[in-house]
Symmetry: C2
Subunit: 135 residues, 2 copies
């Protein structure tokens, strides 16, 4: 409803991303959708970091408002709601992979499979090919 596009602190692309993703919870929801196969409110609640229902609710609403996720209701199963990444949300994949690689390199406690780093270069090549195609 209210759509003043100039609520931002600046036009910097880093700041733009921060306005949407710059908090302690949003990226964890993206992670759950992107890598953990989670799609429902209840599944998000069960993640290790223990988000509370009101915060989760607010983050999901904001993500939907920003067009990163979509919402759908299954009519067959009783009132089951499914969340999914939009293409805009899926476009966060390279960011998520880079973050994972950075953390794996600099945090010994991080439980990232060794195989990830090996496969990462290959993944990057795929991403480049993908981006080159749509350009």
């Amino acid at each position: 409803m209210k759509k003043e596009s100039t609520n931002w602190r600046s036009n910097c692309p880093i700041n733009f991303a921060l306005e949407t993703l710059g908090d302690k919870w949003t990226l964890l929801i993206i992670r759950d959708l992107m890598f953990k196969g989670k799609t429902s409110f209840g599944e998000f609640l069960q993640s290790q970091e223990k988000i509370s229902t009101n915060i989760l609710s607010a983050r999901l609403a904001k993500l939907e408002e920003h067009g990163l996720i979509g919402k759908s209701v299954a009519i067959d199963k009783r009132s089951k709601v499914f969340y999914s990444l939009t293409s805009k949300g899926k476009d966060l994949l390279p960011i998520m992979l880079e973050i994972t690689a950075w953390s794996a390199k600099h945090d010994s406690a991080t439980n990232t499979p060794k195989s990830f780093l090996k496969q990462f270069a290959a993944s990057k090549k795929d991403m480049i090919a993908m981006m080159s195609n749509e350009q």
Copy 2:
């Protein structure tokens, strides 16, 4: 002094990065250091987003504590302090570039040069080569 390493909410690499970078200001300081050539307290203060002195002070301390930036004092010039990225901080470059690319793609108001996206694929290739070398 206090170094309990288990203050984290989880061992997830995404969460690890969030613990350090997951707020509205930290990445902007990284940006200023990485892309804007800023090195001093006063220069950070002048950025568009208008961080206040106490917050900037706290973020710089946290970044130094986490080993992302270093601090040095010039003895010739009177009490001028210079901040710089450590190698751990510089390793954030791929993340910063991906964030910039994502924002440029999804935010029309973002003032990212068109040339950036063209050069981005080339940059990615350089990064891959770099990472392959150290593996």
